[in-house]
Structure formats: structure tokens, C-alpha cells
Amino acid sequence: MTAPLFLTGGRLVDPSQGLDAVGDLLLIDGKVAAIGGTIAGPEGAHRIDCAGQIVAPGLIDVHVHLREPGREDVETVATGAHAAVAGGFTAVAAMPNTRPVTDNQATVSFVKRQGEAAGFARVYPYGAITVGQMGETLAEFGEMVAAGAVAVSDDGKPVENAHIMRTALEYAQTFGIPVVEHCEVMALAHGGAMHEGTVSARLGLKGIPAEAEEIDVIRCILLAKLTGGHIHLCHLSTKGSVDLVRWGKDQGVRVTAEVCSHHISLTHEAVEGYNTNAKMNPPLRTARDVEALQQGLKDGTIDLLVTDHAPHHYDEKEREFADAPNGIVGLETALGVNVTWLVERGVLTIPQLVDRMSCLPAKVFHLPGGTLRAGALADVTVFDPSRSWVVDPAAFKSKGRNTPYGGQTLRGRATRTIVGGRLVHALDG
């Protein structure tokens, strides 16, 4: 057993128990032993002074791409999980668009074991909704869940067949897992490379209209309404999507939603100069969309924040915009981006941010963690919300360097990441 960890004098922020007060936190044998007030630390405990820092339940990112199996040259479960803890995440959920696709119990259990062997963040595998993510035949949810899958998704593309999506929403109820949809009508996106609007018209790039996302958003909400299933909508990017999810929640539909750090901070103007590190799917939208996404996050229409961490090889991004792959890395910048764009600008308070990056991801995906109640998993993130730092992609633990934030100054950075009572990341040594 590792020595007890004794975190003293930090601002304990745990929305799961309505806690926001300066106090101590004691972790013993991988569990929270005591929290709040002044605690008498046991002999031999490793004491960490957290004065001036936030001590929060470990951050959880339910939308990452770790590329293993298949593209270990771009990222592995180990490097991705290392990047996660460097960014303050104690757990991530890995999307199944691997090669081969994670659509069976053997691959699910492989991803899970790779995560355990790496010993950084907890890695929860997703299983695919359909075999090979081909959209035709349901994958074996039951076996995948037994092997450790926490949800199913064909992320990277939508489940286009409405009957298959309906069936997935019905069948998943047996296992109590969310069905997670990448919302896009491919025929309407029609091979577009960025948001359809002023910038695409100017740059001569094929655009993806907001409606390509929104039509699938409302289709999924209606299918969840029909089936009583739990639909979780990936990476919303438009004002219309926020409005539709708000309507769905008002109707009592079991719909939850997420937003990426880049969609609450950047607009399609970032593509100017054909910057392939501003290319992702869904694309960066307009300032009006960014504003609506921030408001949706604030009022709870959007439940949680994710990264959609998507490493790509330098060579793959270093090319013509239309042909470059979609996606950016996010694990090591998300906390800073979220603090800079949401907390510093008064959209969210620190407890609200912790709620949307830890408590709600745990709740929506039925994961352990997301709380520092006595007896809970000792997954803890310590971060300094006022610490300024410059993003240096060369220093990332991730193999991916594809970020639009390189060289930017962000505020807010994880200083200690603790998983199961083990200190797995410490900034400044």
C-alpha cells in the first residue's frame, strides 16, 4: 500500500456534497478517509500543501480518442492516459473508432487492460453501437459491458439508420448504459471541411451547415422519447442544438449532452489562413453559437465538458485543409481553456466548472468518482485557477501536437493529479 496522502489547506470544491470551503483531505488505501476542516494527519502520511489551490474530485473526460489498437504511432492508451493526468484528468472514456473497431468484448477488455497497465488515468472503454461502426448490425452490448464498456457509440460518424438507432436505445436499457451519438447528417454535410458561413465563403472551402448537426440532434431526441432510452449527444456545436436539447429536457426525454472546450472558446475565424489545427468535426462555428453553448452549459442544458481529444500525426495535419484529418488534442489544455473562457469571463463559477468536468460526467455515465465523500475513490485533482502558463505543444505527454492553442497564454492548470490514492502527476516535479 502506498503511504496515505494528506492534502492540507486547499479550497475543497465538491459539488456532489455542496462543499466549498478551505480544509484538509486525507486519502488512505485508495479511498477518501476524511474530508473537511482541520484533520490530524496520520504518521507517515505524504503531506501536500494545497494552500491557494482548488482540491476537487478528479476530472473525468468522457470523450477521448486514444488510437489503440491500430494507430499506436499517433497515440497509445498509455500516452493518452499520461496526457490525461498531466491535464488533471483522473479518468477518461476512450472512443471505439480504433483499428480494428472496439466492437467486441476482446477489444474492450484489451483497452481496459492497457489502461490498467499504464497506471495513469483510469481508462473506461466505449464499445461500438454497430459492428465495425458500419451502421448495420448492433454490436454485442452485453458482452462488451461485462468486459468493461461504460457506453456505446459509433463516434466519428452517426448511426444513420433510424431503426438501428431506435433499437440501440431500446437494447441498451437492459445494461443501463447511455447510447452516445455523433450528431451529423452525412448527406447534408456533403464532404464539407468547415462551418458553412462567411469564412467558408471567403476561403472557398466547402461548408457544413449547422443543420447537418441539428437534424440528427432532434432525430435522436425523438427516438429517445419513443423508446425511453438514454441518449447522450456528443460535442454539440450550434445554438440550434442547444435549443433542441433544452426542448427535449423540457419534455422529460432522457437526453444528456456535452460540449468541447474548443467549441466554447473558438470560432470559425480560427480557420483563417487554412489552419488545419482548427479543423475538427463538428467544426468551429460562429460567435453566436459559442455564446449559446456557454449559456447552455451555464443553465444546465448541456450537462458536461469534454475534450474530444483526437491526436493526429504531424504529417497528416501538415497538408491542404480540405484533405487534413479532423480533430485536435485537448487533454492537456482543457482545464486551462475552460478556466480562461468560462470562469475568468464569469460564465461558470469554480464549483460549477468542477461539477461539469467531474461530478456530472460520473453521474451521466454511471462511473465511480466525481465525489470526495468519505469512502469514495481517492481520485483527486488539485489545480491552481490563477496560474498563467503558455501552451507548449512540444512538452505534451500526448504524442499529438495538433492544437490551436499553441503559444497561447491560459489561466488555470492542474498541479497534482491523484488516481486511487496514488500521486500520478505533479507539476514542477
Binding site: E196, G197, T198, S200, A201, R202, L203, G204, L205, K206, G207, P209, G273, Y274, R319, E320, F321, A322, D323
Partner: protein, 219 residues
């Protein structure tokens, strides 16, 4: 290799920019994807000016497949820089939704464009647009949007007709218009040689003051 100049024509929008950001040579954009075709824009401006004089306040309409046209964007920037009023005309399925953000008027009917303009720049309609579902048929395109002599004869004044080539005769433009008295299409071809010679001459380091001024403008 100390290449002085690279002339690049590329199917991807932004490819010359990509190259220019990474090499020391002068890069000349000879047409990139659906983005820009600067020398075509310049030769169109030269042709228009030689007939209309100053373009200040003149009305120029770009007709056809603006969505996929690199000629259209270079024309719009150039014409507006010289003070012209610019419009586009075509089926909405071939116009970018945000086209008015570029500061142009939009006509849905070729007859309206003919009634408004001093000059029409008619774009080529590529055959694959029909296959990809942007228009129903080339036949109907010609009937509704094609520049025909009958339509031109109803114009309130003489119009100058430009086309960047190659033409689809009988689709976007009829032969008797293309070869008719108002067409300056062959002049465009001639002017194209002069304009491209001038671009090469300036970027080769001759008249450095002019070249520097041009670079400063585009920066």
C-alpha cells in the same frame, strides 16, 4: 534549390498559401480549388477597364456557378477594390449561402442581371455539378440561366460579355453570344498573356518598388 518562383495550380483551396508559408520562393497562385484565381481576376479587370474606363460605380455581374468558382472570388475582391458595384446571379444551389457577406448583390434571374449590369462575367458550369445534385439538368440550366441572344437583345443597353473559359457552348452561354459583337472573350485570352508576363516580371525582381507595394497590399 533556390527556386525563384513557383507557379501553382492546385485542386485544394489554400494550397498556394500552404506553400508560401513554408518556402522562400515567390509563389504565384494560378488557381486554387474553389478559392481564388488572381491572374484571371487581374486580366478580367484589365479587359473591363480597356472598354469601360474607370470601374468606379460600374455594375458587373458574375453569372453562374459562384459556389465552385475561384474566378468569382478574385473578381469580387478586385472589382470592389476598384470601386465597381458587384452582383452575382445563378441558381441558389450554386451560390454560397453567405455570399452577401462578400459585399455583393444577388440576382436569382439572369434577366434581372441583364437589366442591371454594364458587364456580365459568365462562369463555366462544370458538368459534374449536375451529377452531384446541384442542378437538375444542363438543358434546363441553359433554358433558365443561359446567356442567349434573345435575352441579350432585351437589355436596356449594350453589355460587355466576359467568360474565363473554357466555355460550354449551349449551356451557360450560346455560341452567337460568345462569338457576337459584345463578347470580349478573345481579348481576355490575349490580356491573360500580358497580365501573367507582368506578374512574372514584377516577381522576378524587376521594378522592385512596384513589387514591394503589391506585397504590402496583399499582406
Amino acid at each position: 534549390m533556390k527556386i525563384d518562383m513557383v507557379v501553382i495550380r492546385h485542386p485544394a483551396s489554400g494550397a498556394p498559401r500552404f506553400l508560401a508559408d513554408r518556402i522562400e520562393s515567390n509563389v504565384i497562385n494560378a488557381g486554387d480549388g474553389t478559392h481564388e484565381h488572381p491572374t484571371q481576376g487581374l486580366l478580367d479587370l484589365l479587359t473591363l477597364r480597356s472598354h469601360l474606363g474607370s470601374l468606379e460605380g460600374k455594375r458587373i455581374c458574375i453569372c453562374g456557378d459562384v459556389l465552385h468558382s475561384r474566378v468569382a472570388r478574385s473578381n469580387i475582391w478586385g472589382l470592389k477594390a476598384l470601386g465597381a458595384q458587384v452582383a452575382v446571379c445563378g441558381p441558389r444551389s450554386l451560390l454560397p449561402g453567405a455570399i452577401t457577406d462578400l459585399g455583393v448583390e444577388v440576382f436569382g434571374r439572369i434577366e434581372e442581371a441583364i437589366g442591371w449590369a454594364d458587364a456580365l462575367n459568365v462562369l463555366r458550369l462544370q458538368l459534374e455539378r449536375m451529377e452531384r445534385g446541384y442542378i437538375p439538368s444542363l438543358r434546363e440550366y441553359n433554358r433558365i440561366f443561359g446567356l442567349t441572344r434573345a435575352r441579350l437583345e432585351r437589355a436596356p443597353k449594350d453589355l460587355l460579355i466576359l467568360h474565363p473559359g473554357p466555355m460550354n457552348r449551349g449551356v451557360e452561354i450560346d455560341s452567337d453570344v460568345a462569338d457576337g459583337p459584345h463578347s470580349v472573350i478573345l481579348e481576355q485570352v490575349t490580356n491573360g498573356v500580358a497580365v501573367r508576363m507582368a506578374v512574372l516580371y514584377l516577381l522576378a525582381g524587376n521594378a522592385p518598388a512596384l513589387a514591394d507595394a503589391a506585397k504590402a497590399d496583399s499582406a
